[in-house]
């Protein structure tokens, strides 16, 4: 088998919690708790789940913006978790990120042309070719040379996201981590950006980790999808299987909860009880057992392992 572009093994991120007035034992927010997956060259892996389940934290660890508490990240077979800043520099250019809020991620005092040029400077792109590259990138994302001299506030949300994408593409990365890249956009603009991301993937042979809470969006853009709940991946498989034969009770509930724009469709809905528990005090055993309609005694006691129950179909649930 071909070496995957990225391999994540038993990744954990525990944030220390501020101690209460009483001090006491040190406690942690288990933002990411034993997550493993691979990203194959050229594919889009979607990560989906409700807010606070650890999607962004996972993405930030891949970007080396956060150090894992435990676990390994392999890039093209090489463990990059322990590398020094110096060693990481050449690899870092292969990872770029696109954020949800393009406005917050673009420096308001810089012209759009300068924003796109910045990573070129950082990574030592030849000076005489930089201007040309910036103009080319603007075109690639559907903007024009005219936009280079404008400031971010003069752009609409969709255009700002295009700028964010142009900047991410600047140094020819292999992997783009897109964290909720269309969540803040109106639907008509959202589809423009989704189409753009697909076109760019084909043109530049990009690999995506696409993070979002919107299942319909994730299903549309991804080849495979991982479903997260309270810091863990509960199910991971190709998108057709995930949609047609979801196995994990949480995946089933999540899929059934998504309102579908078809008024004739009357579906059985699995209504989950209660709220998502806090990751600082996750339930014992299977962390979903407090809301799961199928939970048995075993579920509250034993942590289920992520098992491959059919080729490429991973589920973490005692039912299987």
């Amino acid at each position: 088998m071909e070496t995957p572009l990225v391999e994540v093994k038993n990744l954990k991120k525990y944030f220390p919690k501020k101690k209460g007035l009483l001090g006491g034992n040190k406690s942690y927010v288990k933002a990411v708790d034993d997550v493993s997956f691979t990203i194959r060259k050229g594919e889009t892996l979607g990560l989906v789940g409700e807010s606070g389940c650890g999607k962004s934290t996972t993405g930030r660890m891949l970007m080396k913006l956060l150090d894992p508490t435990e676990g390994q990240i392999l890039f093209e077979g090489q463990d990059i978790t322990g590398l020094s800043d110096n060693q990481i520099r050449t690899i870092r250019k292969e990872f770029q990120m696109v954020f949800q809020d393009p406005y917050a991620s673009l420096n308001p005092r810089m012209k759009v042309g300068e924003i796109i040029e910045e990573p070129l400077i950082v990574h030592g792109y030849p000076k005489e070719k930089r201007q040309e590259r910036v103009l080319h990138l603007l075109e690639v994302v559907g903007l024009s040379a005219y936009h280079a001299d404008r400031y971010p506030h003069e752009f609409s949300g969709g255009q700002r996201q295009r700028v964010g994408i142009a900047r991410a593409l600047a140094v020819n990365p292999k992997l783009i981590i897109a964290d909720e890249p269309v969540s803040a956009l109106d639907v008509s603009i959202q589809s423009q950006i989704l189409n753009l991301l697909k076109d760019l993937q084909e043109e530049f042979e990009l690999t995506y980790l696409f993070i979002a809470h919107d299942l319909s969006v994730v299903e549309h853009i991804s080849d495979r999808v991982g479903v997260m709940y309270l810091g863990k991946i509960v199910e991971l498989t190709d998108k057709e299987t995930l949609y047609k034969e979801p196995l994990h009770p949480y995946t089933k509930a999540l899929l059934s909860a998504v309102p579908i724009p078809n008024p004739r469709l009357k579906r059985e809905r699995i209504l989950l009880k209660g709220d998502i528990p806090s990751p600082s005090n996750p339930p014992s055993g299977c962390t979903f057992h407090t809301r799961c309609p199928f939970a048995t005694e075993e579920c509250s006691k034993k942590v289920p392992k992520l098992k491959e129950i059919a080729k490429g179909h991973f589920v973490s649930c005692h039912l299987y």
């Binding site: 609409s156 255009q159 998504v258 309102p259």
Partner: protein, 329 residues
């Protein structure tokens, strides 16, 4: 025969500023019948919230003003009522819920007190009755431990629970009309499913009409009997929910429906509407959708089409379905 409850006719609400007039709502016509749920959809900035704030007459603290049209509710024109008269209707006959519950919840009051005040004012309950009613309402919206929660503060609750409290408060006086402005937009999908379920059951049991403002076409398909589509301050199409989804006529409605990815639908590319929503300072001449429309004709860029009845209970604002008038120059 459907009985009208609310009839907004040709509503115009404008905002004056140093930089000119923003025509946030500029010719909006919406009818809500008794017992019906009407969806109002459109992208951000198209005037959905300003429309609902106009109905509730909650524009006092803004530079916004109703400058045209009528808002008929049970024989009264809300657009022209005094603040005193409006206070008897607000929270009583018409209640509103928001995307952010803290818009209507007071952080320094206990939850019970917020519900009690409304029912003491409108239903003339005494303190004890009001408290009992508050607990009953909290139970009705599925708040566990209602007897304890009634003495807690909003910040002690999760987002989904706060949303329920706001609904309890809104439904406390048994309003005839509930205006819900993006009530589930900030919620996770499993929590959204709970809240939509609750709203559907409450409105069915009590015959409450709902004006459901949202940008989510899935929510519309699931909740609404009729749908009003807005673009740049105007209603561009209105029909029953099946017609809107299966036989949309306005190019914008069509484009919007084709833009959303649908679960389980295998398509490589989404259709998308080119360009951006026009900003208030840059409103195009003629049809506001013309610069993005694939079917644009000469007349579209010159003259604004009217909202016309194109079929039984189906209106549309587009030159494709109306005789071009004489061009006034």
């Amino acid at each position: 025969m459907a009985e009208k409850l609310l009839e907004i006719k040709n509503l115009q609400t404008h905002f004056k500023s140093d930089r000119g007039v923003v025509k946030a709502v500029d010719d909006v016509t919406i009818t809500v019948n008794k017992g019906e749920t009407v969806g109002v959809v459109g992208e951000s900035g198209c005037g959905k919230s300003v429309t609902s704030l106009s109905v509730m007459r909650l524009l006092k603290d803004t530079p916004g003003k109703i400058v045209g049209g009528t808002i008929e509710f049970e024989g009264k024109d809300l657009a022209h009522l005094s603040e005193k008269e409006m206070r008897l209707i607000r929270g009583n006959d018409i209640a509103m819920i928001f995307q952010e519950p803290m818009t209507s919840l007071n952080p320094v009051y206990k939850i019970g007190r917020q519900i009690e005040e409304a029912v003491m004012l409108h239903l003339k309950y005494d303190k004890k009755q009001a408290r009992e009613h508050a607990i009953k309402m909290l139970k009705l919206v599925g708040i566990p431990r209602a007897e304890e929660i009634v003495d807690e503060f909003p910040y002690q609750l999760s987002g989904g629970m706060r949303q329920r409290v706001m609904i309890a408060m809104a439904m406390a006086c048994n309003p005839k009309l509930l205006i819900a402005d993006e009530p589930t937009t900030a919620l996770d999908v499993t929590i959204q499913a709970q809240i939509l379920d609750l709203m559907r059951n409450l409105s069915k049991e009590r015959g409450t009409s709902i004006m459901m403002i949202t940008h989510d076409l899935g929510v519309v398909a699931e909740m609404c009997d009729r749908v009003v589509v807005m673009y740049a301050g105007k209603v561009v199409e209105e029909a029953d929910v099946f017609t809107i989804f299966e036989n949309p006529k306005h190019p914008y409605t069509e484009g919007l429906l084709n833009s959303v990815p649908k679960l389980g639908q295998k398509i490589k590319r989404l259709e998308s509407i080119p360009g951006n929503v026009p900003t208030p300072g840059n409103m195009p001449q003629g049809c506001k959708f013309a610069p993005r429309c694939g079917k644009v004709m000469d007349i579209c860029t010159k003259q604004d089409p009217e909202l016309k009845m194109i079929d039984k209970d189906h209106t549309c604002r587009c030159w494709l379905y109306q005789e071009s008038g004489v061009l006034e120059v």
